[in-house]
Amino acid sequence: MKNIYQLLTCLILILSLSNFTVQAEDWGVPSSAKKKHNPYDANVKNISSGKKIFNINCKTCHGDPGKGNMIHLVPISPTDIGSQDFLVQTDGEIYYKINKGNGAMPTFEKTLNDEHKWMVITYLRSFDKSNRRSEKLAEVKNPEVTDVKLDLEIQDSSKYILAHLTGMTKKGKRVGLHGIEMSFLVKRNFGYLDISREDAYTDDNGKVETVFPYDLPGDREGHVDLLVKLTDDAFYGNLEKSQIVSLGVPTIPVNPLDERAMWGTRANAPIWIMVSYIGGVFVIWGVIFFVLFQMIKIPRLAQNKE
């Protein structure tokens, strides 16, 4: 009998707990929102830009799709959004959730524009095993190549950076690889600043260019550390090339300690403050000594008079 009671309490507890999680996950997506469709094609470009947006805005909590490396939160961790359990939802449902947020999930209604949100959904759909859209990816048609090389051409005067991606075909001919996205990055103290232009995909000759920002500071000589790499390593692995270029604006760092200022420590105090302070000390002590001297003189004066 006792056992049955224990079992019952356990059951009730489990049920109430599961009820709680269901409530916490209740998004209340209206049925009209579920019907929305993704207006963007599931092509390589859209998926790759979706991946970029995902890595910046979603990855810190949700982790990589399908890898289960999300952060762990109480009471509920973020979902693995590459899993089939998540992807059974319609595009409209995911879109609604990105927009509204719930609990620890922020709202992205204003932080991401519509296009970006759909790109993220396109990227997520590429993990969907049951979705046909993900299968009809517009593949990039490049011949099979070996010895893929990345060359950089830099024009200092026009601040032009040209990247050239080539590979060796079986016939021993070097050809340009087209339709590959390239990232142009500039090293900064705590990370890389992306200076690539919009849609930085290689053209038919395997070339893609970008213009270095005219006002980006470099070091004293204008040198910056440039890194050019393939945005997606799925095609030819992690191919990158770094080079020191002198395209930045020469910047001489200002040392705030060089000037004398009120907030400086003793050695950096302004001259006028040091002069007036030391002068003040001399004047005050001078007056005191003068008075003392005069007082010593009084008895002498008295003697003289007598």
Binding site: K59, P253, M262
Partner: protein, 311 residues
């Protein structure tokens, strides 16, 4: 000319460091030898130690000395000078903050502070009666015209060439003038014995982290100057789960988000989001910039009914 002298300084420092480390190595090996000899003579109170190559050795307790990480004066010297050529700034995006308080926890952990002591504090703000409330993390503003350093009678608090305002707890006499002078209430005073004082009493004082904390002195936010030296973002910045903080070098015109690790142009970020500083009318020229709480990522979930919480 200047560059030469700084180069010499660095060489000298490296040389000195090499000599110190080398000497420390020799001394430690001698002391280990001595310990082994002593152990052979008479088994006094022995402790088990694991050597670097993974062997378990027994050492006489009397032979053990606390490790000195770096000579105190060298730490003080480089801490006073700062990192040449840098000009650190922080940008706080108020629209992303939902009062998760991970920054505070990370900071207290790094600087050995108790939970009630704040180098950075998340405040509930409401600017006027009918304005929208929001959360505002508030670290030291590392002003370019700091009122706190002007009033220090013993040169204990100072500004370095990379813009960071530090305090030397070895010099501080605890007069608390700087606390009174700071318009942002960014400084705290160690009224009692600091957290884990007993545990860290043999640790060499590091001016760039204010650890170990000292009773009767003032402590403040340091932009995690010891982490910046090894190109790491400050503790609060890298612990934020919601992408509130950007940190970087103004000379490079780039700031990096601690959560997403996205690097953006500092000038653009401020320009596009109408960034502002706190109490600009005081002319303190803060190095911490705020982006207004517009288009928020989270609804305000603070406790408005309790007026004590509001600032």
């Amino acid at each position: 000319m200047k560059e030469d002298s700084s180069k010499n300084g660095r060489r000298k420092f490296l040389k000195n460091l090499g000599v110190t480390v080398g000497a420390a190595g020799v001394v430690s090996s001698f002391s280990l030898l001595g310990a082994a000899k002593a152990a052979a003579k008479e088994p006094a109170e022995m402790v088990n130690l694991l050597t670097q190559d993974g062997q378990l050795v027994q050492v006489d307790k009397n032979q053990l000395r606390p490790t000195v990480t770096a000579p105190l004066n060298e730490l003080q010297k480089r801490g006073r000078e700062g990192i040449p050529g840098k000009s650190f700034v922080m940008v706080i995006d108020l629209s992303k903050c939902r009062n998760a308080r991970k920054c505070m926890a990370a900071c207290q952990n790094h600087h050995q502070l108790r939970p009630d002591q704040h180098h950075i504090n998340v405040l509930q703000m409401q600017d006027a009666e009918y304005t929208a409330p929001y959360f505002m993390p508030k670290p030291c503003q590392h002003c370019d015209n700091p009122p706190c350093t002007k009033v220090c009678p013993v040169d204990a608090t100072f500004k370095r060439q990379d813009g960071i305002v530090l305090i030397d707890n070895e010099r501080c006499i605890g007069c608390r003038f700087c606390i009174a002078a700071c318009p942002y209430s960014a400084r705290i005073f160690q009224w009692t014995e600091p957290k884990d004082a007993e545990k860290y009493k043999d640790l060499t004082y590091n001016i760039e982290a204010n650890v170990p904390q000292k009773k009767g002195t003032v402590s403040k936010c340091l932009f995690s100057a010891d982490r910046l030296r090894v190109n790491k973002l400050p503790s609060c910045v890298s612990s934020c789960p919601n992408g509130v903080y950007y940190f970087g070098d103004r000379n490079e015109d780039a700031v990096t988000n601690g959560t997403t690790h996205e690097t953006v142009r500092f000038s653009k970020l401020i320009e596009e989001n109408a960034g502002y500083t706190l109490m600009p009318e005081l002319g303190t020229k803060p190095r911490v910039y705020y982006l207004p709480p517009k288009n928020r990522a989270f609804k305000f979930n603070g406790d408005l009914l309790n007026e004590e919480n509001l600032h």
